[in-house]
């Protein structure tokens, strides 16, 4: 058998071993050298080495071999894994990169010599102290070949210890994106010797600071391998999803789901035929049999639907498992100590929700580490345990609930109020009238949460409105609870799936529309006398707040009928924004299967899909997030005009 056939197996296995190695190394760092753990790590490195070697992946084999040697030293009783966790994690990262390269290009591209050397050095090195430092090197204006110089300086520094991070990153330097300054976080043997070593020639100045004293540079925040990606960028989840699963295109599942929808329609037709048969004087026994058969068809269709839905589900572990490492890196950078607690990892979520949840969760976690959890010294002073606690939990309630909770300093609502006044979001009077809850809600205000200064003032901030929008985009909601000095808890309520939604069915102009219940707040009747017109827009005042009113006709750009005496309005809302959707009547509520609109229809603003109702009628599903946006914009335009 040709070895290439074994590649997929190797790749999947490598994933599993690398994940286990990463988790193991983190445990090693946390709990110290423990015989069973080291044995397991050793075994995994060994297995990887064997398979990589058999397939001719020389670098992976070399690297795992060296890791094995190092682990063997630990196994034989060396008890000081100082600095080793970083090194081993770097090895795991490199192995992942190599694995990816092998999967995509069929060959190894990333060099591992540097890591091999460091592993060798770790082994041979008598127990020595490495001092964490921040080194700022400034090159002269007339320095030729800056990129090459920067790399040479970096190599020089590497020989003095371990370089943990560089700004700009090595990758950027290689691409020539380097200015005059180079900032490195490193752990070195002799910090005192660095200035002399690095100075001279094209170097204008060298500053070496103990890492703990160095001013925090915003740019560090952008360094994490995870932090770098965009919100929705999620290679990790994709990688893990490959594990122990058959790869099926989600689109294919969507198509199956659609076909199931067709079955439901056919079933309804059978039922109708049976009723016609009976009422039209046909054989009642035959009609009965047809009804039985159609009921059975209905059950099968429902089961089929449930199975397809299950296929779309993945345990939230796929998302959670990256956080221990992510938090560790963040915490280090921020000089914090953080303990991560994961709960409910086996709770399952629709794959597409899971994929879109990564970004918002990462933001919340990052905020908690950066701004929520206090530095260890401060915590000690406050009588809190030194390490902060970050809890990520998932459980099933109505839908799925995900909690991100820290025991840090919480949100200072007074400061949030002051900030809102400073930014002219609220008048001082309005700000002081706000309840605590309402004041906390301000962090989701787009004006407030994008103001970067808030980050330091309120302890929360960057893009919280974007985070909430991200959660709402998957049909969820995001709430926050906080106690000043005690901590902050974010609660995400998510639907089980995007393929089926609970919806309110309404009638309008003889047509049926479905509105996802997750965004329906209430249904109110507004007398025509209380409807105000501003330009072409209608508004009313509901419990003291202005509520824009929109009719479905307007949204779909159909002629709008004259206003009746009383407008029946479904109040939908996203965040703090509310819109009254004016309808002819409410038909009922229930679960509907979401079918995407055909491409021939294109994008209809305010409509997210279609569904087939129980009676076989087609209804458009309205998209509240978009509706609110449309309505609010028009309202603002009206005010301007």
């Amino acid at each position: 058998m040709h070895l290439a056939k074994l590649l997929p197996t190797f790749l999947a296995e490598a994933d599993e071993h690398l994940q286990a190695l990463e988790e193991g190394v983190l445990r090693l760092e946390r709990e110290g050298v423990e015989a069973d753990l080291v044995r397991d790590l050793f075994r995994r490195a060994h297995t990887l080495k064997g398979s990589a070697g058999a397939l001719g992946f020389r670098r992976m084999a070399e690297l795992t071999h060296r890791m094995e040697e190092v682990l063997d030293v630990l196994r034989r009783g060396r008890q000081d894994p100082e600095g080793l966790a970083d090194l081993l994690l770097a090895c795991v990262d490199a192995l992942r990169t190599l694995r990816q390269e092998v999967a995509e290009a069929g060959e190894e591209r990333t060099e591992v010599e540097d890591l091999v050397r460091r592993l060798e050095a770790w082994q041979g090195r008598p127990t020595e102290m490495l001092h964490p430092v921040e080194v700022r090197i400034r090159m002269r204006e007339d320095c030729p070949m800056r990129a090459a110089r920067a790399l040479a300086l970096l190599q020089l520094l590497r020989r003095e210890g371990e370089v943990e991070q560089v700004v700009p990153s090595e990758e950027e330097i290689r691409r020539g994106n380097v200015d005059l300054e180079l900032i490195c976080r490193a752990r070195v043997r002799e910090p005192e010797a660095l200035v002399q070593l690095l100075s001279g020639g094209d170097v204008e100045s060298v500053r070496v600071l103990p890492a703990s004293d160095a001013p925090r540079d915003e740019r560090w925040l952008d360094l994490g391998p995870q932090a770098r990606g965009k919100l929705s960028d999620d290679p990790e989840a994709t990688r893990r999803a490959a594990l122990r699963t058959v790869r099926v295109d989600v689109e294919r599942l969507d198509r199956i789901m659609n076909l199931v929808g067709e079955l439901v329609v056919d079933r309804i037709r059978f039922q109708q035929i049976a009723h016609r048969l009976r009422s039209g004087g046909g054989d009642p026994a035959l009609a009965e049999e047809l009804l039985d058969a159609s009921a059975h068809l209905g059950r099968v269709a429902r089961d089929l639907q449930a199975q397809v839905l299950k296929t779309r589900m993945l345990p939230i572990e796929h998302l959670f498992s990256r956080f221990p490492r992510y938090v560790r890196d963040l915490a280090r950078r921020a000089g914090k100590e953080v303990e991560v607690v994961l709960e409910g990892q086996d709770v399952e979520l629709d794959r597409s929700i899971l994929e879109q949840l990564g970004g918002p969760l990462m933001h919340l976690v990052r905020n908690a580490v950066d701004h929520g959890i206090e530095p260890p010294e401060e915590r000690e002073r406050l009588g809190k345990p030194r390490p902060g606690r970050l809890r990520l939990a998932a459980y099933q309630e109505d839908g799925i609930v995900v909690v991100v909770e820290d025991d840090g300093r919480g949100i200072d609502t007074d400061r949030v109020r002051r900030r809102a006044v400073e930014l002219r979001i609220l008048s001082p009077e309005a700000a002081s009238r706000l309840s605590e809850r309402e004041a906390v809600e301000l962090i989701f205000h787009p004006g407030l949460s994008t103001a970067s200064a808030v980050t330091d003032v309120s302890g929360r901030g960057v893009g919280m409105d974007a985070v909430r929008a991200g959660v709402q985009a998957v049909g969820g909601s995001l709430e926050v609870e906080t106690g000043w000095g005690k901590g902050t808890r974010f609660v995400l309520r998510l639907p089980l799936t995007l393929a089926i939604v609970r919806a309110l069915t309404v009638a309008c102009g003889g047509e049926r529309y479905a509105i996802p219940l997750s965004s329906v707040h209430e249904i109110v009747e507004v007398p025509a006398s209380r409807v105000h017109r501003v330009g072409s827009c209608r508004t009313t005042v509901l419990r003291g707040s202005v509520l824009p009113l929109v009719s479905v006709h307007e949204i779909l750009e159909l002629p709008v009928p004259p206003d009746p005496d009383r407008l029946l309005c479904v109040v939908v809302g996203v965040g703090r924004r509310r819109v009254g959707l004016w309808v002819d009547g409410v038909v009922g509520e229930g679960e509907v299967v979401v079918k995407p609109l055909g491409s021939s229809l294109g994008e209809v603003p305010g409509v997210s899909g279609a569904t087939i109702l129980g009676d076989g009628r087609v209804a458009l599903i309205l998209d509240p997030v978009r509706l609110v946006r449309l309505a609010v914009r028009e309202e603002e335009l009206a005010h301007v005009g």
Binding site: E111, E113, R117, P144, M145, A147, A148, R149, L151, A152, Q155, L156, R159, R174, G176, L197, G200, G201
Partner: protein, 120 residues
Amino acid sequence: MSARVLVVDDAAFMRAMLREVLTNSGFQVVGEASNGLEAIERYEETKPDVVTMDITMPEMDGVRAVREILRRDPAARIVMVSAMGQQALVVEAIQAGARDFVVKPFDQTRLVEAIRRALR
């Protein structure tokens, strides 16, 4: 004891100049090579403390020679001597393990500094 240097450059003029500069600065030039292949041979023979390596040479260029020498002796110390406009190659050489570089035309102090750093 003065450090032993191997000078690699395809131009005889350059080799002579390097030899003079290095000797004046107290180094001992233990060999010369005019291309990469020769450099590897001389390296094996003389086991120098440090090598100055030109980049563009016939037979085998400096970057490949760096790789080959380091493969045989991972502790080898090599300083690249590059013409202007060869940054990409210098970057490659450094990533392959060259310790430092100077850009032609170089002044004496720069070269000596680079070699001293490489020798550390």
